[in-house]
Symmetry: C2
Subunit: 460 residues, 2 copies
Amino acid sequence: MTTSTAVLHRLRAELGSRLSTDPAELQGARADRSGYTAPGMPLAIVRAESIADVQAVMRIATEWRVPVVPQGAATGLAGGGAGSDGAIVLSTASMNRILEVALADELAEVEPGVINQALSDAVAQYGLVFSPDPASKAISTIGGNIATNAGGLLCAKYGVTREAVLGLTVVLPDGRMLETGHRSIKGVTGYDLTALFTGSEGTLGVIVGATVRLRPIAAGTVVTIGAFFDTIVAAAAASAAVTAARLRPAVMELIDHEALKAIDAFNGTTLSASGGAYLLVQTDGGASVDEADRILAIVTGAGGTAELTIDPEVGERLLAVRRSVHPSLAARGEVLIEDVCVPRSQLAAMFGEIERIGAKWGLSIPTVAHAGDGNLHPNFVITPELALASGEVPDVVWQAAGELFRAALDLGGTLTGEHGIGVLKKRWLRDEVGTDSFDLQRQIKAVFDPLGIMNPGTMF
Amino acid sequence: MTTSTAVLHRLRAELGSRLSTDPAELQGARADRSGYTAPGMPLAIVRAESIADVQAVMRIATEWRVPVVPQGAATGLAGGGAGSDGAIVLSTASMNRILEVALADELAEVEPGVINQALSDAVAQYGLVFSPDPASKAISTIGGNIATNAGGLLCAKYGVTREAVLGLTVVLPDGRMLETGHRSIKGVTGYDLTALFTGSEGTLGVIVGATVRLRPIAAGTVVTIGAFFDTIVAAAAASAAVTAARLRPAVMELIDHEALKAIDAFNGTTLSASGGAYLLVQTDGGASVDEADRILAIVTGAGGTAELTIDPEVGERLLAVRRSVHPSLAARGEVLIEDVCVPRSQLAAMFGEIERIGAKWGLSIPTVAHAGDGNLHPNFVITPELALASGEVPDVVWQAAGELFRAALDLGGTLTGEHGIGVLKKRWLRDEVGTDSFDLQRQIKAVFDPLGIMNPGTMF
């Protein structure tokens, strides 16, 4: 009996119908939303329904030294959840119960498979919301959000996922269960293992439960401002001026001309004729109208042609422009969404670098940015002309992406603001963090995962 | 030549006048503000003036296996910075330059010895503030705030120290320098070593630099509400009702009757005759007046006798009541400030437990609480009648404190919300985090500090 056969036998005995080796399902489990598909074929998929299921899988994996790839909704954008060759794909997507909503404590206890938006929907009646708002929030799981420390549009004002996680329940590679953190807002007993697991991309253990903070839904009128500028540099300067005025809008998004053109082609609009770049700002909270008035003055003074609305429907239409960027690009080909983040003062410079790199490599790199926190998403579209028969990302794209990462680092930034390292960026990780940090991080991994079975192709 | 002599010889050669072995200074370095004094005597104090100084000390300490206790302003409340027997006390208090204030990026680069308030003072002219606000902020260093992940009064609204730290420069035990984190707001490359060092209490390395976030000073009128209640339970219920109304005041503090009596005795006031407990609330931001009106209605409806003011001087006088708790108690004897934190819904129950434990052990336990985040500071006052000749904390106090920690854990809380484990609480650490977590944390320590020379008496 081969190892694989023995492992499958044991998994079948303990997990029963939660185990699948259906070739079509295994095929599907090789990919996430990054465009990456892992080479080879996973050994099996287990759709865990309980912590005990996860523990059973990890004990078997440890016994037989089989790699395990934890997976939520597989909406990741860096390949970190793609089922690799010979691995057990351990899905926690079916563990999707909201176990408790503690209103007085403004927190929830959830299983990892709960969809981000589903939690906000469940608590909206109490005036609460789950803050982390990745663009994928309608389809991504909270477990996945935590594993990647997901960001989103609201982070400059409301923080990233880490700020919303109070505690975790984790199954370690050997099957033991570990609790981290607290139900209290503060707590400093020992090292911050909750933060260590947040963003660890499935390399330390399997998140099987989370205590997450909820926050009051912002009071007041939501005010939306949309403004066209001649150039992306001018738009970026306007957003910097908003920050410099010590204003903190909930949303502040930039869309460059290449992205506007793609939207026009997709929607039949003429946005790209109205300006070279678009800035979208939204304020909320009790002073939102006053803040929006001040922002409008700044934006107009910086050369923007702006409209302001307190009508939710009109505001939603303006936001829809931002949301249509990805579908517009996806209509042209496979989209590789990059994710550099720079200090806010360097936003305009980074846009300049993107233009330079696009011109150098003959690539169109439509870009959107969360201007409030300096996080840019330059998109590489693998059009039919660029695509390789193998389905892999063409080398020219990786070369341009590599230059882009280098430019972000040179501007004091990072190669990933919110998507993670996954498999797609691991070749650049050491460049950013340095050899000492890289080695220390690998040793930390070894503390939790001495056999190296947790998502071994990811991050390192 | 003994080891000690050899080490002192080397330190003298490399550090010159930054080294001191003056007995009075060594004596002073044995204590922090917790009331704890380490037994024995440190070997020496080095007052580092540069990263190179810190590296030199750590290389010597590694070569000779000498323990090192990093120290800032020695304002800690858990004994974590107290110079232990035979250790080199490595003070970074003199490394107190603000290296850069990046206005567009709303961040500062600071040396670890910068006083918390000094940074806020330096950036106030730009409309910015450094959020973390431990009660010690006028005298504590940012390096120390980071080492303990310090809290304060504003945390429910503005976060703890961790949320304000973007990146760190650390000298590892072997003298290597490590950079963690980013200058950008977001960043998810690799494990969150910045968060791991934040709150690590000098057990992993020496913080020699930090990139910290600044935030806009809240706009609008600061409104202050002070309210007397018959009982602390009623006051705690009122604060819970404020949270339940989805309001988020900047400050929400509770003072119990024992603490009011101490204030009266110290200041000659008659606060304790006006009620059994005092609730202090402060709102800020563009909607502060409206929020305060709603809070006033809730507080009054919950049985409070309240006054509201928008006069900064009157507000300051009300806040002064809260600030005078510690000096009032310190006038009676050595104060051991405890620091439990419970889910907000359990605040009233925790106050009940404190009353029960005080009665059981015949101790007065005056208590104040940051009600917005469930963080209570029950105070044990070592009056002359209680004091031991040895200067140590009487056993009855530790027994009562132990019950108090147990009660906090049973209510879903933690034994330290913001002061840290230090040496004073390490006997309870394993009780809270469990054996697996405890062992994993020790292994993480060993990754950074394989020789166990970093603050060895602290935390574990």
